[in-house]
Amino acid sequence: MAYRLEMRNMTKRYGDFTANDNVSFTLRAGEVHAIVGENGAGKTTLMRMLYGMEQPTSGEIVLNGRPVVFRGPDDAIKHGIGMVHQHFMLFADFSVAENIVIGYEPQRAGLFRRKEAVEAVRALSERYRIPIDVTARVSQCSVGEQQRVEILKVLYQGADIIVLDEPTAVLTPLEVKELLQTIRHLAESGKSVILITHKLKEVMEVADRITVLRGGRVTGTVSRQETSVDELARLMVGRELQPLSERVSLAGGPLLQVENLTVRDRQTIVDGVAFTVHHGEIVGIAGVSGNGQSELLQAITGLRPITAGRVLLGGKDVTNRPVAAIREAGVAHIPEDRYLWGTAKQESVEENALMGYQRKRAFSRRGVILRDAFRCVVEQWVERFAIKTGSRHLQEQAGNLSGGNLQKLIVARELGQKTPLLIAAEPTRGVDIGAMEHIHQALIEKRNSGDGILLVSSELSEILALSDRILVMYKGRIVGELKRSEATEEKISVLMAGGSIHGSGQKAV
Amino acid sequence: AGCAAGGGAPEDKGQAGGQDGGAKKRVALVLPEKIGVNPFFQQMDEGAKKAAQEFGVDVKTIESTDHAAIEENIRAAVAENYDLIITSSFESEDALKKVAAENPDRMFAIIDTVVDLPNVRSVVFREHEAAYLMGAAAGLATKTNKVGIVAAMDIPLLKKWTVGFQEGLKATNPKAEVFVNYVGSFNDPAKAKELALLQANKGADFIYGAAAVGDLGVFEAAKEKGFYTSGQDVDRTGIDPEHIVLSQLKGTDTAAYETVKAFVNGSLKPGVQTYGLKEDGVGVTYVTRESKTPLHPFIGEEIVNKVKAIKDEIVAGTRKVPDPLQQ
């Protein structure tokens, strides 16, 4: 059977660094082909070359039997290739319909026919069963909705090959389910889908074939029927995954006490939330994103004003204190959006690592930052978390790191603060399974040493694997609390959707 | 070629013509601003150039880009051995005081202000006397008893014009109402025109332009609205005889010309020379000088005669027109 797409011997070099090394890849019509691999393996780079955003150093792209060269994305789009980027390429102030039709607007005499656009998009959304409010502003859409906008845009442009780069990393379980359904549906209707993801369960659920990349090379292409999660993991990481270390039982005293916390900004976002995190405990917060988790964390860490209620840290009131004071009192914070809150993309790895340490006693003398001493510490982090920093090492621009490696840098930085409390929001978003294992291990170790962790994750498996106690948030309130022993994915899902469960402990702390 | 003779200033200047085996004498005219739109400097430049031709000397005009450049340029002119350095205006006062004091063996001149040093010749004008005559004429001519002044900026210097004019106006027509508006800039004819239009709209039938380039805007407004107006520095009545009925005159060209001439003759002496009505250094068309343009009936022979009488009183000293800046 002829392939719809063949990429032959693709190589891409950045300076002395080889991101893709002789990679070959094929795609059939109506196929879902997953690409997996550890962070920095070169998945995104391969797709950027397919989409015309990067020119290959060498190699050939053959489309429907004919070799093609894409000088830019418009070339690729014209040849029926569409890409949904990890970082959405959307215009925040435009409506959903406008975002979808842009570049191919329905028009008459140069005038933009917005009504026709709305109709066309509506029809498209019905045809592919991707529901969306076409007149809403994109800035007001949830991440899941924005993802749908991106997919619809690609479809509107008439793509036969759709590339999805880590589409599920930011979605809630329900949204993931819907997306996987959409992907299957697209494949059935004759489209080919390339799916990049770190979640092997999803791969096993939806992919026909799987290509594994490691260190810029293909380590194998397998069909789903012939493989398993474990085999994929081995191919990716090159070793067996370790089980998480034992949890030590610690009966620590209260560390973080949140009392009746309310955040209001035009409307109530967080509504009378109360809970406690003890020493030696990981408390997980589950919930569909947009139910106030982000705002809750921002309120605790001082990034957002608290309307009512109190936050106590080790018995000390830190309500509405400046961020610096709260950090000083013993809080570190892995932010959920690593590009918005967690990095300065144009700055070097070293400068990004320094954030929060610049006024620390250990790294400054007489008002001067001790760069050399600090650099040694960063080197240790890079080694411990296997952060691939690129050719310029610590002086590499943070923005040039692959998404997962940047995440690891942030995790290392915040763990390095050695604070009694760590607030971890989506700590493993976008990292590969090897690194995820590593980060989970580090979190457990921190807990075992007697520190407390407040964990927010849209990944239920992560919550279940790490938490001693699980709180579920819904519409700004805590609607349920589950002990580790009694928690199941089903129970949490019900609570997350606004339902209630009976019979189990549902008391407020 | 340098001043080999280290002697005193007077000797230098006396024998300057003989230096360097008959080479031409070199005169630098250092202006404190760009000549640009300023007729004051334009005329000075012309006067100096005219003298240069007639008396066979080299005159180099150096325009300064800004305040800080003035001293720079004067110093450079000294360094480049110009035989006479003419400067101008209040803006150059500080700079000249410094440089002239440091170079007592050089001769300097300054036009339009006084620098009291033994090697500086100062030439000043009493513009307020001419402005007074203009005001007097306006007071006599106005039918609506309303006149306007469109001035460039509200700065002390311009008081010589605005205050002088108002004094004259009061002298001949105490009941006349006067509108004063400032453009806020020396080079904004568009705004000057609008201000003139507004004054005309309020009933002014004579508007005195003292807005530098803005005067051109006032002229246009006069043409459009049919009121009467006046020019500055040179006889401008020719531009639009129907509406520009007077001009206030100022002989900066004469001052520059005379200075160069005196220098060539060897008669240039330190000290102050003032040009007023008496010396015929300032004046008003028809009153102190004839004009190619026939007299407009709005002013008329009778008024000209009355103003001539006032002029005579000022010249004779019986009518005092104090310098507004010295009050």
């Binding site: 961020v323 930052i369 | 006084v114």
Partner: protein, 356 residues
């Protein structure tokens, strides 16, 4: 070795730019039938031709440098302060009045005047910063508007209550400061004064702060990503206000040293007409907000001006043309073409070309 290579690489760009600027200027000069060589010779002479002219260039670079240094700090913090002119003028008038009317020995007066210049300029700048921090009124606009207000207010002060009534009294200016308050000239008979040393000291101090101190780090990170800065515990408003105060203070100092070292009195318009504020802005942008870079770019820009004066004095090339040449040179020096051209060639060899 690495450092030398880096230096060479960073020099290629400006040098090529200057070369192309000069070439374009040559076209303009020959278009009016003047001698290219002579004109450029006079330009060079006017700027660097002798120690005297070099000193004049340094004198002219002094206010540009101080303003540029101040702005570099604000820009690093991501604050676009367009109000240097007003800050300079108010600082200067404040310092002048203190120098004139404060009783006490000369040195005390001089120091007090310098301090006042910094404080007044800084506070005026802080006003815009405060309005942004507290009321979210856009600083970019307010600083621009506050210029007009400051310049008009200073104009009022010197044409009414504090006008010099001695002498011809025709200019809007204060009385002259007494000699003991003057900043000393560095060389007798040359215009460069102690203010230049102050500017150099400020550059070094700023370099040290930016490079080595936590505050410098915080300013930089705030400029790159304010969200990240806040997340990391940096007090955004505080850093912004400090940066604004410092940048306004240095602008105020620029005006002050110009008064104490060159004019010896505040003259209405003497600080605004030369356009020091815009030139200082350009110096910063050309130097990419690097304090030591600002030293060089401000001397370069000053040299272009003094060079143009030399052209005006000694050639028949009209003054306007000198300013055209100056503008053309600045245009091309700011261009990044050589760099891009270089980079493109390199990447083309490797057949890779990023689209985004």
């Amino acid at each position: 070795m690495e450092a030398v290579k880096k230096l060479c690489k960073s020099l290629v760009q400006p040098l090529l730019a200057v070369a192309i600027g000069l070439l374009t200027g040559a076209v303009v000069i020959s278009a009016v039938g003047e001698s290219i060589l002579d004109t450029y010779q006079q330009m060079w002479k006017g700027a660097f031709g002798s120690f005297y002219f070099f000193a004049s260039t340094l004198a002219r670079s002094t206010p540009i440098m101080l303003i540029g240094l101040g702005l570099s700090l604000a820009f690093r913090a991501g604050v676009f302060n367009l109000g240097a002119e007003g800050q300079m003028v108010l600082g200067a008038i404040g310092a002048t009045l203190v120098g004139l009317y404060l009783p006490g020995p000369g040195l005390v007066k001089m120091l007090a005047a310098l301090a006042t210049g910094v404080a007044v300029g800084g506070l005026w700048s802080l006003l815009a910063g405060y309005m942004e921090a507290k009321f979210r009124v856009q600083l970019l606009i307010t600083t621009l508007l506050l210029n007009y207000i400051a310049v008009l207010f200073a104009g009022y002060l010197v044409s009414e209550p504090f006008q010099d009534k001695s002498g011809s009294a025709a200019l809007a200016q204060t009385a002259m400061l007494e000699k003991s308050v003057w900043l000393p000239k560095l060389f007798a008979g040359m215009s460069v004064h102690a203010g230049f040393l102050l500017a150099l000291a400020a550059a070094l101090a700023l370099f040290w702060v930016v490079r080595f101190t936590p505050f410098g780090y915080e300013v930089k990170m705030l400029g790159h990503n304010p969200f990240f800065a806040r997340y990391g515990g940096i007090d955004k408003d505080r850093v912004m206000l400090v940066a604004m105060f410092a940048s306004g203070g240095l602008a105020g100092l620029a005006g002050t040293v110009e008064v104490l070292g060159a004019h010896y009195r505040f003259v209405d318009g003497a600080l605004t007409v030369p356009g020091y504020a815009w030139t200082g802005l350009m110096a910063t942008l050309l130097a990419n907000s690097h304090p030591i870079g600002v030293v060089f770019t401000s001397i370069l820009l000053a040299a272009l001006q003094t060079g143009a004066m030399g052209v005006e004095r000694n050639t028949e090339v009209p003054l306007e043309l000198a300013s055209v040449i100056q503008a053309v040179l600045i245009l091309f020096i700011s261009a990044k073409f050589s760099h891009d051209w270089w980079k493109n060639r390199k990447s083309k060899r490797r057949e890779s070309h990023g689209v985004v």
